[in-house]
Symmetry: C2
Subunit: 99 residues, 2 copies
DNA sequence: CGGCATCCTAGGGGATACTG
DNA sequence: CAGTATCCCCTAGGATGCCG
């Protein structure tokens, strides 16, 4: 159960993608820039996966050159506070380690 | 940054361990029972890792047979609401898939 | 620009067996 | 009971190259 739910944000970079989209829609290459060490392949798979799960939406705009925008869905947006909470605790855990 | 924080709960079963401890302290074999498909080796590594990060505490009680209790630290406990939020969204995502 | 297909590698994780 | 040691395997993910 938990495991199934966690699957949504596990897999490398899934959380980063959501994180990167929390301020608004982003295009494919913008996401690549946001998350430097990610490879195109993985970003692509992650995006597909997250779209299928209903976490984000994909919007192709018929411009030239073509442009594709990714944005969090309502449900996807609800993941943001959870991630923020984790980051918050992560910070404190780190400070504890360092100090 | 996010990545580093996420590392705390990523790695197979870390989230499950925290989840399993949210109601109170548990012993090694109780955790194994709680999370059936986990192997002793992995549970052991995860426990060690989480202890070092300060997420949980390990308390050896000199009984016979020996017993070891694991419990969430204060910081570890703060992860629980985050996990609950994720589970909540996970549920809704699933219902959306099914429905 | 966006994004598959291919190939390849590292290491996280499973099974089993053994110890204190 | 609570682990540790060993071995093996699987697959998520990186690199590269090509296509619409």
């Amino acid at each position: 159960m938990l495991t199934h739910c966690m699957a949504v944000i596990s897999g490398a970079w899934a959380a980063n993608v959501i994180w990167s989209l929390r301020a608004g829609p982003r295009r494919f290459n913008e996401l690549r820039t946001d998350i430097p060490p990610i490879s195109a392949k993985v970003l692509s798979s992650r995006l597909t996966e997250l779209e299928q799960r209903g976490v984000l939406s994909r919007n192709v705009r018929p411009t030239s050159p073509p442009s594709v925008e990714y944005a969090l869905t309502d449900l996807g947006g609800e993941l943001v506070p959870a991630l923020e909470a984790i980051v918050e605790v992560g910070h404190r855990l780190k400070k504890r380690d360092d100090g």
